[in-house]
Assembly symmetry: C2
Homo-oligomer: 382 residues x 2
């Protein structure tokens, strides 16, 4: 299999390292012919080229996109598909944003587009979704999809670090995305939930319908609430299927310490699927990092090499209806008066637990407070 | 695909339920033609037959063994392989005991024998080992492979139940194997570690070389030691590869509460693989039960249907050398004098932590005490 690798940064350099080494019977059948980098200054190898047309020559079987970003990778992937080349990408933003377009383009050109590395890094999420669905129906998922925010919350909880201090440490360790707002505002998790939901339910979810709250405003007070109640605060993404529709959202949640999800440390990811036969099955591992992510990319390439059925269906039309998700919520705000009709329990002068309300109502009330420092989290325990 | 199902108990009845329902594009292609049960008294279906020769007619493609036991299932599987039929089994004891014979017999007859359900119940352990190995090298595994003992230790730890009380509850809930000694003495975990090690390292491990300690003698005192030191007592199976040899053993261990493995509740299983690219990847789910286990059996059948490469290699000859595994150990015995030269720390009049010693030395000292109530556990923290 002849490969054009687009991008040679964090992920791309791992992909070329694993393939060039070729130390399994599968990876030894792979050959990287071209590597697209920005310009001469990044060229460290004779395979390196500086524009996309030089990378996509007729000889290439598979195009591997590890560029990051949105418009340029979208253009490159589209071009590759139109040239009838299989595409492997680690780019969750491109896949979640242009899912319908890219899946149809692949279908039209009778090639595959695969994106194992875009969700859960090295954890084999997509291959296990495909595997489970052969025999079973997946009804819901819940997961810690973002290592940076898990690292921050873990450090704030176990070592009483401040939010900023923990974020800086995460960036130093290379966990945080280039733009930390994608992490801390929950967008990164939104993309991943979108892709997970699409694969689980053979659909194409509307990214904008995924209600998303992040942890930008979390304070030690919110962490202490967890500690005092045998709970752990985690940023989770969830998908739940009900009759003919789904609920998909991103939300900090107070998780019971009896739940394994409460005990996922540092920058690890954990994704849990509930299905008819299996009950809950959880997958834990490195959600980012050069070699775990590159490993996932190479797995996709090997699946193409093995001629596996990687066709993706979007035939099952389901709408996201988060009005159906009802929960109690922890709210910390200086403007509690907007919640006065929905108080289940008063915790402090600026903290309440709401009565069970739906996610739309919640969003509406939060917008009314106009409080940029408001913190909200789901409360699932009783 | 035409299937003969041998056994219609806990697992077999789940297999026929999933296949007869046939509600995925894969399971609808499967057909159970014969079901072997003991006699007329168990016949609830016109497909049922009472002797193996009636089950294995020429029409059958796949034989699914869910009988339990050792000699009779071994005879049935051997007969099926010799008739050039693929075999799927959930029987860890048969597989671990006759691994070499069965793998060679399958090879000789150019058919496959697969056993996903024999380790970790519904958790896709074998398929993920196969998957990971395509790109990476697995260096070690550690796991909670037995739900019954995990349930007992969890109940003793969280609810201060006595050992017997917790065991009876596990039996009532249907978790305990027919013979609880296979669970509590660690044999069940031994079989599973043997099969896991065989698959991970393409070898055929000698079952008798797997050093095995169980939890039959565990007391509330041993549980309290964990609680007082932010540890959790778990029965784990481990495999570790070093240069040209492996260490494989079954041992209660005090696990740090910082480790996710310490937080696997009730009867769940958790198996962790460490590999070059991925670091640690963990799989958690139902390790037993009708539908999880039956799901795993049906997954194997679908893999055969899809003509996947399921060939098993035993070409990599490696010996188990547990003399190389060195650790501190918690020892509770009335006969502590045998350990007097190896004391790292005295905990109580009948409890010590040893200096780091190897597993052979440990076994030797334990045998010398001749104390049937001795309890031993690994101590990995510092």
């Amino acid at each position: 299999m002849k490969i054009a690798l687009l991008g040679h940064g964090n992920v791309g350099s791992g992909v070329s390292a694993i393939i060039d080494k070729g130390n399994t019977s599968f990876t030894e059948q792979l050959k990287i012919k071209k590597i697209l980098v920005k310009d001469e200054s990044e060229a460290t190898d004779e395979r390196m080229v500086f524009n996309i047309d030089d990378a996509l020559d007729n000889d290439i079987d598979i195009v591997v996109e590890c560029l990051g970003g949105l418009k340029f990778p979208f253009a490159c992937i589209s071009k590759a598909l139109n040239m009838k080349k299989h595409v492997v990408t680690s780019n969750k933003k491109v896949m979640a944003t242009y899912y319908d377009e890219l899946i149809s383009l692949a279908k039209k050109n009778d090639v595959n587009i695969v994106f194992e590395a875009s969700v859960g890094g090295g954890i084999p999420i997509m291959s296990n979704i495909r595997h489970t669905k052969r025999v079973d129906k997946i009804n819901s998922f819940i997961g810690i999809f973002n290592g940076t925010t898990n690292f921050i919350l873990d450090k704030m909880s176990k070592e009483k670090q401040g939010f900023k201090e923990a974020l800086i440490q995460a960036q130093k360790l290379g966990y945080a995305e280039s733009n930390p707002s994608d992490d801390i505002d929950g967008c990164d998790v939104k993309y991943k939930c979108c892709l997970t939901g699409n694969m689980v339910w053979d659909t194409s979810l509307n990214l904008d319908d995924i209600t998303t709250f992040g942890i930008r405003t979390v304070s030690q007070k919110d962490i202490d609430f967890a500690i005092n109640h045998q709970l752990t605060l985690k940023l989770v993404g969830r998908g739940i299927k009900t009759e003919g529709q789904v609920q998909v959202f991103v939300l900090p949640e107070y998780i019971s310490n009896d739940d394994t999800l409460a005990h996922i440390p540092l920058n690890l990811n954990c994704i849990v699927f509930k299905s008819d036969n299996l009950g809950a099955t959880s997958y834990i591992g490195q959600g980012a990092g050069t070699f775990p992510t590159a490993h996932a990319v190479v797995q996709d390439i090997v699946s193409l090499l093995n001629n596996e059925n990687l066709k993706i269906s979007t035939d099952n039309k389901v709408d996201i209806n988060n009005r159906e998700y009802i929960s109690k919520f922890y709210i910390r705000t200086e403007n509690l008066e907007y919640f006065k009709d929905y108080i289940y329990k008063k915790i402090a002068s600026d903290v309440i637990i709401t009565e069970p309300i739906n996610l739309f109502k919640l969003k509406d009330l939060i917008e009314k407070t106009d409080d940029k420092n408001l913190f909200v989290a789901g409360v699932c325990y009783d």
